[in-house]
């Protein structure tokens, strides 16, 4: 059937375009209350989502907001605006399209509220802000359709949970609202459909031909450990030369930086190659994006900031450097190559070290078998609900019963009980403290049955703190000169704190020298040719999925590895020779000295979270046994613990009952729980985000969330925020059941190998980020030593 308006239909014909079957299907389902479209990258998903809007607005022009489009990325909103303009202007349709993100000017945002466009493109955070205004009912009253792009990405985080609450709010403001979700391939479409709305129809587009994907083998074998894949520079440049445009994905920003620098050193032909990641300044990113769209770049070194569906033009090869960690993400990244529908995407995997050769092999097998990984998400977290209640109060007085009825229409909150809702409301209103609530100073008050802000001026602060993304605090980096200096990007505050003048690090592909800190800005000078001190600034850290972990363990069981490159087979053999390879029946531990510290490695293969919990519980047991642990780091396969004294036999540390007993007391004071608490406390509105401007004023107004956590634990252990923290941790960070499963499986077969030096298999663990310190006797001993050395050096001892 043809429901396209003649003007648009004619324009398509003139252009020689024809619609894909799923794009027709979307038109046919235009009146359905909720539809989820699952289509591969390049399948014209976004146009499919917008066609019904274009058709309706052309057939019956109307004033006011018709369609809201929400994407997880600001850049995506701007990109879609450009793309929509082509058919709208081409077919001369009477439709106004605007975007609204954190980058939109104040005047334009004001005007949008007074006179909304037909189609508004925005992000969940900007929508939350819009819904917090008193005039939200007027703005959204006539809203017909909402399109959620990259729904698979949104649904994986608290941003998605918040999004569903915002949808429920929108539905109340405009009961006839129809929902459309656009998603890349996912492992469980019905779950994603329930997330979007209770009765969602699913539309599966033709997935297209299987991708052409291989491991990139090089003459030089990958290094024993390390990341970044710099050993393969020549082979990668060769691939870049053979293709029109290559995307080179990295898992972390630091790795992307190091790689980019070395790629340029090897780039003797001066091929135009750019870099793009989230730590670069906006100006720099925009420059690269523009060059990319104009087809001026042959390759772009990037991170997850390029993961989502922005159209980068004619990409014909994707190279994934480092193990992909997650099959689903790999498939989505591969989809970035070859935007012609129904042509196979071409991709190469480059393992960064020998362990990753095994990981890449496991991932390749999984892609070929068509298996995808994914962990189901639990019920909607209540810290997000706290924020939603605050947001609702900002927009005007509300009735608790009505808000509850609205909230449980959101998928993740469908099972929320009324008492749980009331406790959440009480926390938002009074702080929810057991012994002394702030009766006089509560944030929300009830007047005439309706809840409202006690002090309307609080709305400004609440609006500033909307959103569920908790940023790691960063500092801007600028070139030092008389004119203020070019902004280069940002580094984590904790990284900046480790720098002393003269230190060098990489940013934007340049080696720079740290000169000093001025008004919360890191000042640097150019220092070409020097070796950089590695930049450890933040990048997304991916966890390897359970599916991949299991496949890796299976590969270890093979007697020989003829299907792996020779160097990796040799490496695994070496591990078998000096220690042994982990298997499912025995828990392998290795103990060895390295770099002046004692180390213990526990190969549990229980997933990152359980390995992390194991790290916390084992270090506690070690502390009690006087083994002075100093810290640990966990990966999906193993936990590495370092300390002052050697562990000769790890088995006594694994007493399940002692571990269980330890769990409760341990919940009291560990760094992981405190980190979880901090994030939830910010989202729930207990503490404010620290803003760049406020931090300038020397005396910090920020509170240590650690102290708040300790105080609550001591005086109000059942407080809502502690409940939320525990729920969060149990759901993700603790995963104690995996430890129980592990110990039941090995039933006492715990083997400790005492080695003279680190083993081949343990080497990659030393490069893992996310090290967690243990605050115990060992730390005191270190502080004692450090203090003595400093006093001696100063001639004071």
């Amino acid at each position: 059937m043809d429901t396209l308006p003649p003007a648009l239909s004619q324009w398509f014909t003139e252009k020689g375009w024809s619609l894909h079957p799923h794009q027709w299907d979307m038109l046919a389902r235009a009146r359905d209350p909720a539809t989820l479209l699952i289509a591969p990258t390049g399948g014209g998903k976004t146009l499919a989502g917008f066609l019904p809007t274009l058709a309706e607005l052309t057939a019956t022009p109307a004033k006011g907001l018709h369609t809201l489009y929400i994407s997880p990325l600001k850049a995506l909103a701007a990109d879609i605006r450009r793309n929509l303009r082509t058919p709208i202007e081409g077919a001369n349709l009477p439709i106004r399209v605007e975007d609204r993100t954190g980058d939109t000017t104040y005047t334009q945002r004001r005007r949008q509220r007074a006179d909304p466009p037909h189609i508004l493109l925005t992000t969940p955070e900007s929508l939350a802000l819009l819904l917090s205004y008193e005039d939200a009912p007027r703005i959204f009253a006539g809203l017909q359709r909402v399109i959620l792009d990259e729904l698979h990405a949104l649904a994986e985080s608290k941003r998605g949970d918040q999004m569903t609450l915002l949808l429920a709010r929108l539905q109340s403001l405009s009961p006839g609202l129809r929902r459309v979700g656009l998603s890349a391939t996912v492992e469980d479409p019905p779950a994603l459909a329930r997330f979007l709305a209770p009765d969602t129809g699913i539309l599966l587009a033709d997935p297209g031909p299987p991708p052409d994907i291989q491991m990139l083998e090089t003459d030089t074998p990958p290094p024993w450990a390390g990341g970044g894949g710099r050993y393969a520079m020549v082979a990668i440049l060769e691939q870049v030369k053979q293709h029109r445009t290559t995307l080179i994905f990295h898992n972390t920003r630091a790795q992307a930086e190091l790689f980019f620098r070395d790629l340029w050193l090897a780039n003797t032909e001066d091929l135009p190659i750019g870099i793009h990641h989230g730590s670069l300044s906006r100006e720099q990113r925009e420059r690269v994006e523009a060059a990319m769209v104009a087809g001026q770049l042959r390759a772009i070194v990037c991170t997850g900031s390029l993961d989502l569906g922005i159209d980068w033009g004619d990409v014909d090869l994707v190279i994934q450097v480092g193990a992909p960690k997650n099959v689903k993400r790999l498939v989505q990244r591969i989809g970035r190559a070859n935007h012609r529908y129904n042509a196979p995407s071409k991709a190469l995997l480059l393992p960064a070290n020998r362990f990753e050769v095994v990981e890449c092999k496991a991932a390749l097998d999984a892609v070929r078998d068509g298996t995808l990984d994914g962990e189901p998400r639990g019920p909607g977290p209540r810290d997000v609900l706290c924020q939603h209640i605050l947001l609702t109060a900002c927009s005007g007085p509300f009735d608790a019963g009505q808000l509850y009825a609205e909230v449980i229409t959101a998928g993740p909150y469908a099972a929320l009980t009324r008492p749980a809702f009331d406790a959440t409301l009480d926390f938002v209103a009074t702080g929810g403290y057991a012994l002394r609530a702030y009766d006089r100073w509560q944030r929300l008050k009830q007047t005439g049955g309706l809840w409202h802000l006690r002090d309307p001026r609080a709305a400004a602060v609440i609006r500033q703190n909307l959103g569920t993304i908790i940023d790691i605090e960063t500092l801007k980096v600028r070139l030092k000169n008389r004119f203020g200096g070019t902004p280069l990007g940002e580094v984590e505050e904790s990284f900046a704190a480790t720098l002393t003048p003269g230190d060098t690090f990489l940013i934007g592909g340049q080696v720079v020298r740290y000169e000093g800190l001025r008004e919360m800005t890191v000042e640097v000078t150019n220092q070409p040719g020097r070796d950089p001190k590695v930049a450890v600034f933040n990048g997304t850290k991916f966890a390897t999925s359970t599916l991949l972990t299991q496949r890796i363990l299976d590969i270890f069981q093979q007697e020989r590895w003829s299907d792996l490159p020779a160097h990796t087979a040799q490496w695994l053999s070496l591990q078998r020779e000096v220690s042994r390879l982990p298997d499912a029946e025995t828990l392998l531990c290795e103990s060895f000295p390295h770099d002046g510290r004692e180390h213990l490695v526990v190969y549990g293969f229980a997933g990152r979270n359980a390995q992390q919990t194991l790290g916390l519980l084992l270090t506690k047991a070690m502390e009690e046994a006087g083994l002075a642990p100093l810290g640990f780091v966990a990966t999906d396969y193993a936990t590495l613990i370092w300390g002052i004294d050697a562990v000769e036999d790890a088995a006594p540390l694994f007493d399940l009952h002692a571990l269980q007993d330890g769990l409760e007391t341990w919940l009291a004071g560990n760094a992981v729980m405190k980190r979880t608490f901090r994030a939830s406390a910010i989202i729930a509105g207990l503490i404010e985000r620290s803003h760049q401007g406020r931090r300038k004023s020397g005396r910090q107004a920020t509170f240590s969330s650690d102290i708040l956590y300790d105080t609550l634990r001591k005086y109000d252990p059942d407080h809502l925020l502690l409940q939320i923290t525990r729920e969060e941790a149990m759901r993700g960070l603790i995963d104690f059941s995996r430890i129980e499963d592990l110990l039941a499986r090995v039933s006492g077969r715990i083997e400790t190998r005492r080695l003279p030096r680190l083993s081949p298999l343990s080497a990659p663990l030393f490069l893992e980020p996310g090290r967690i310190p243990v605050q115990g006797a060992g730390r005191e001993r270190l502080a004692e030593d450090a203090a003595r050395r400093l006093m001696e050096a100063a001639g004071l001892a």
Binding site: A458, R699, L796
Partner: protein, 218 residues
């Protein structure tokens, strides 16, 4: 384990809690209690922080008084988060504080947060001279034998942040004793400009008060 030091020929003890003890006079000195901080924030429509910090601070203060057997107590200013904080105190906390004061020579030094007169027992002073020492809230340039607070100094050692005393030949600056108090890095110009070369930072918060050369840069 405490750390002995001397200032203007007087022998003093820096305690791991962040309190200062003067054995000769049986005198305990603490700074920047900021009692009633969470209540003040709530009053100003700020965050509703857990309202237990006053109790927590008093608990630690009582423990210090008992451990040292102090007969005199000097609170070095910013004892209350503002002038109204005293009224906002929980009745139980107020009684507790009164009980601590009773039978002791208790001196409240005025700070920038609690500059006005307070309706609570004890004597209220801008500064106090005792022996060779002067006790005041904010350090004054060129002072000798001065004990002050105000800055909440903190320092980093062995991967951890510690509250600290700062000491040179002329003066001693106490860390904040209050529970909800942030800190100012030792390398802040406000502090490096005040303390002479060779100054020490005495880190507390752990089991031991331990001295390091005052960190003068980030």
């Amino acid at each position: 384990m405490s750390l002995a030091l001397s200032l203007a020929t007087e022998s003093l003890i820096a305690r791991p809690s962040g309190a200062l003890f003067w054995p000769e006079r049986q005198l305990l000195c603490v700074s920047d209690l900021h009692l009633g901080k969470s209540e003040r924030l709530a009053r100003r429509a700020g965050a509703l922080l857990p309202p237990y910090e006053t109790r927590e601070t008093l608990l630690r203060l009582e423990a210090e008084i008992e451990a040292t057997g102090a007969r005199s107590v000097i609170c070095l200013g910013d004892s209350f988060d503002d002038a109204a904080s005293l009224d906002g105190l929980d009745e139980a906390d107020r009684l507790w504080l009164t009980r601590l004061i009773a039978g002791r020579d208790w001196i409240w030094i005025a700070g920038n947060h609690d500059a006005g007169p307070l309706e609570i027992a004890g004597s209220h002073r801008a500064e106090v001279l005792l022996g060779g020492l002067v006790f005041r809230h904010i350090a004054e340039p060129g002072a000798q034998g001065e004990v002050s607070g105000h800055y909440h100094p903190k320092a980093r050692l062995a991967g951890k942040v510690w509250r600290c005393f700062l000491a040179d030949r002329a003066r001693l600056i106490l860390p904040a004793f209050g529970t909800y108090t942030g800190g100012l890095w030792c390398h802040d110009p406000a502090l490096t400009g005040l303390l002479q070369p060779g100054a020490l930072a005495i880190l507390c918060g752990g089991a031991v008060a331990r001295a390091i050369p005052m960190p003068r840069r980030a």
